[in-house]
Amino acid sequence: MAKKRTVRSIPQERTPVRELDPVVRAANFEEVNCGYTEPEAILESTRCLFCPEPKCIDGCPVNIDIPGFILKIGEKDFRGAYDVITGTNLLPAVCGRVCPQENQCEGVCVVGETLIPVAIGRLERFVGDLAIKNSWVNRPYIEPTKFRIGIVGSGPAGMACAADMAKAGCDVTVYEAFHEPGGVLRYGIPDFRLPNSIVDAEIEKLEELGVKFECNTLVGRLFTIEQMISELGFHAVFIGTGAGYPTMLGIPGDSLNGVLSANELLTRCNLMKARDFPNVDTPLPLGKHVVVVGAGNTAMDALRVSKRLGAKTVTCIYRRSKAEAPARAEEVHHAEQEGIDFHWLSNPVEIIDDGEGSVCAVRCVRMELGEPDDSGRRRPVPVPGSEFEIETDQVVFAIGTNANPIIGQTSKLRLNKRGYIATDDDLMTSMAGVFAGGDIVTGAATVIEAMGAGRKAARGIKAYLGIRDTGPIERDEAIFGISSREHNFVRVRAA
C-alpha cells in the first residue's frame, strides 16, 4: 500500500457485477449474479480503507478478518485470501452469496457512511468460487483421536460443526433425514441464487476431511439421541436439525388445494427437481396467477421460482412496508426487476374456494403503520373498509417457521417455551455431551449464524472432551519442486 487511502481517494462507485438480463433469467434457473471477474475484484478491493479498527469484522457473525482477505486480493494473492477467510468461515462461496450483508458486515462498513459500502460479500464469493474452481483445500494435518462425534442434520450448522471436529481428529458421522445432504442450502435456496454444484463442492470438501454422511436417517425415530451416546458409541452429539414446521396462515380457506407452504414448493422444485416433471416423478403445482404471502428470503425464493415456472402473474403480499421486509435487499431488488408485483402494506384475510375445493381468489385488507411494537418496528393495523380481492390459483405462504418437533418428541432434552432446544452458553443441552445450534436453537436465522453456532458448539465439544487445538502453523512444502503452502493444525490433547 503506497498512500493511505481515504474515502475521497478510493473509487466512489461500487464496482458493478454482471447480472443476467431480467427478462431472460426469469425463464430459467441460471444463477442471476455472475460474480466478479479478477480485474473487478481487484478494483473493488481498492475501495477498502483497511481501517485500524475495522467495524466490518464486528458486523460479521463469525468475525472474518475482512480487511485481511481484501488486502490479499489487492496483492493478487487469492490463495492467501482464501486461507484468511477459511480461518473462520468454512463456506465462503455460500456465504458470499446468501448472507444478508447489508445487515451484517457491509451494514457497518466505514465506507458506507458516505458511499456505498465495500462489496465484501461479492469479494468473498469471488475467492470462494476460485477455490472451488482450483480445488483448493486447506487439508490440515490431522492426528486421530479415539473420539467419535455424531451430527444430526446436514445444514450449515451441522456442516460447520462436522468440519471442526474432523479437523480435531475425531471420527465424524453426519446423519441426514433426506436422501441428500445440505439442509436449506439444498432444498430451500434455489439454483439461481446458490447453484447445487456449490453445495456439492462444499460437501465434497468435508468428505475429504474424513466426514461421513449417512442420509435417509431420521434421528429420533431410527435411533434416539440417548441411544447415540449409550449404544452407538458417540462421545458427543451435535443437533442441527433446523426450524422446519411452517406456520399456517390461520385464516379461512388455508387448507384449500392450491394453498401450500413455500417449503413445500421449494422442496419439490429444488430437492425433488419437480421443475423437470414429468421427466422426474415428483409433480409441482403450476399456478398461473400466484400469490405469495410474506417478504423474507423464503418468500422471495417462492416468488421468483413461481415466475420461472411460468406463472403469468406473481404477486407478493406483505403486511408491512418495503423498508421492513426481512429479505436480503438484493433479492427484493432482483424480484422487482423480474416483474414481481408487490402489494406492500396488505394482509390476506380469507382464501376463497372455487366451489370444488381449490383456491380462486384471496381477499386482502390494506394496512397502515401504527405505533412501534415489541420488535421496534411500527405495528401494521388494518384500514377499515379497504378490502380487495386478487384472483389467484395458487397461494404460497412464507410467514415463518416453528421448531421441528421430532427431537423433542423422542428425547428428554429440555426445550424452551417455544419448543426450540434449550442450551447453555457453550451450546450444551440439558444432556451432558449433547450440543445443539442453528435454527433449532435460535429459530429461523441466517446461514452464517447457523455456521457460527456449529463452530461454537465444536469448541464446546472440544472443551467437554478435553481436546485442545493450537493455532494453525504454516509450512512451505515443496513436492516435486512445486511449492504448495499447507496449513497444519496441530492438536494437543490435554491429559
Binding site: 435417509n216 425415530r221 409433480p283 421441528n404 418437533p405
Partner: protein, 296 residues
C-alpha cells in the same frame, strides 16, 4: 456427489397377493429394531423418483427386515411393481416415521382393515394380542381374489370377520357391517382401529359415533419429506391443523375432517394422470408385458 451409496436397502423377499397388490420385505436391521406399530417409511425407488409414504406392515427384528405391502395405483407404485424384484435395492428408505400407535390398555378391541389397510393394521392387532387384549379382526375386500393375510390374522385374532362386497368370501357387505356385528355381539368393546381408504375410515367413524366407542384412524395425506418441514400433509382434526407425518398419522376418527382430506388427496390429480400415462406409454413402446400397466 455424496449419496447413500454406502447404504443398501436390499429387497430380500417379494410376494404378489393379486395383480395390484404386492409385498416387499426389505433388509434394514436398524429399522427393524426401531419400528413400532402405526409407523411408516418414505421410499424413493430410484434417483429421479418421488418420495412416497408406505406403512410398515410388519417387522422382523431377528431377520432384520421390514415389510411393506403396496398397491399399484399410479406411476411410482406401478413402476415399483415391475422393478422391485428380490436382489434389487431401493434408492432411499427413511423411517420409521410418525408417532407409534398408542397401545391403550383396552381389554376388548376391533381392528379393521379395508383393502390395503389390512396390512398396516396387522402390527397393531398383534401388539394388542401380545398385551393380552381380546382382539376382533374385521377385514374387508372387494372380492375373494383380493384377500390376503387371512392366516396371519387368524393366528392373532380371537374372532375374525371377513367382508367382501360380492360375498365371495366371508359375509357380504362392507367393513362397517362387520363392525356393527361385532358391536352388537360385544357391548364391552372399548376401542376400534380402522385403516383403509379415507371413505372407509370415514364410514367406520360414523358407524361407531352413535355408541361413542373410541375410534382411531391412520391418515394418508400426500407427503413430501415426512419430517414436519413442508406442511403438505396437513389435516384438520377438530378445530386444529395437524401435520400427519409428525403429529400422526393416527388420529381420533370422530374428530377428523375426512372431506377435507379427500379433497386434498385430489391435489395432483392431473399430474398423476400425466405421469401414469407417460409410464404406460413407455412400457408399451418398450414392449413390456402389459400385466403391470393394465390396472386402471
Amino acid at each position: 456427489m455424496t449419496d447413500s451409496s454406502n447404504q443398501k436397502f436390499l429387497i430380500v423377499r417379494r410376494e404378489d397377493f393379486s395383480d395390484v397388490t404386492f409385498l416387499l420385505e426389505i433388509s434394514h436391521p436398524m429399522m427393524a429394531r426401531a419400528a413400532k406399530p402405526g409407523q411408516f417409511v418414505i421410499v424413493m425407488s430410484h434417483a429421479e423418483g418421488e418420495r412416497i409414504p408406505l406403512t410398515i406392515a410388519d417387522f422382523d427384528r431377528e431377520r432384520g427386515t421390514i415389510t411393506l405391502v403396496i398397491q399399484a395405483v399410479g406411476k411410482t407404485t406401478l413402476e415399483m411393481q415391475r422393478n422391485c424384484q428380490v436382489g434389487t435395492a431401493l434408492y432411499g428408505l427413511a423411517g420409521p416415521m410418525g408417532i407409534p400407535s398408542h397401545l391403550s390398555d383396552a381389554k376388548k378391541v376391533v381392528c379393521v382393515g379395508g383393502g390395503l389397510g389390512v396390512a398396516p393394521v396387522y402390527p397393531q392387532a398383534r401388539a394388542w394380542k401380545e398385551s393380552g387384549a381380546y382382539v376382533i379382526g374385521v377385514l374387508g375386500f372387494r372380492n375373494k381374489d383380493l384377500l390376503f393375510w387371512e392366516d396371519k390374522f387368524r393366528a392373532i385374532c380371537d374372532e375374525l370377520i371377513i367382508c367382501t362386497d360380492d360375498g365371495s368370501a366371508g359375509i357380504r357387505g362392507f367393513v362397517t357391517d362387520g363392525i356393527k356385528l361385532a358391536l352388537e355381539k360385544h357391548p364391552d368393546i372399548e376401542e376400534v382401529v380402522a385403516i383403509g381408504p379415507p371413505v372407509m375410515m370415514k364410514a367406520c367413524a360414523e358407524a361407531t359415533r352413535p355408541s361413542g366407542v373410541k375410534t382411531m384412524v391412520s391418515l394418508n395425506p400426500i407427503m413430501v419429506d415426512g419430517t414436519g418441514m413442508c406442511g403438505g400433509c396437513r389435516v384438520k382434526v377438530g378445530e386444529t391443523v395437524k401435520f400427519a407425518c409428525v403429529d400422526g398419522p393416527d388420529f381420533d376418527g370422530h374428530q377428523v375432517d375426512f372431506d377435507d382430506l379427500m379433497i386434498r388427496l385430489r391435489r395432483y390429480k392431473e399430474e398423476e394422470q400425466v405421469a401414469k400415462e407417460r409410464w404406460s406409454e413407455t412400457c408399451r413402446m418398450r414392449g413390456i408385458g402389459s400385466e403391470a400397466v393394465s390396472v386402471n
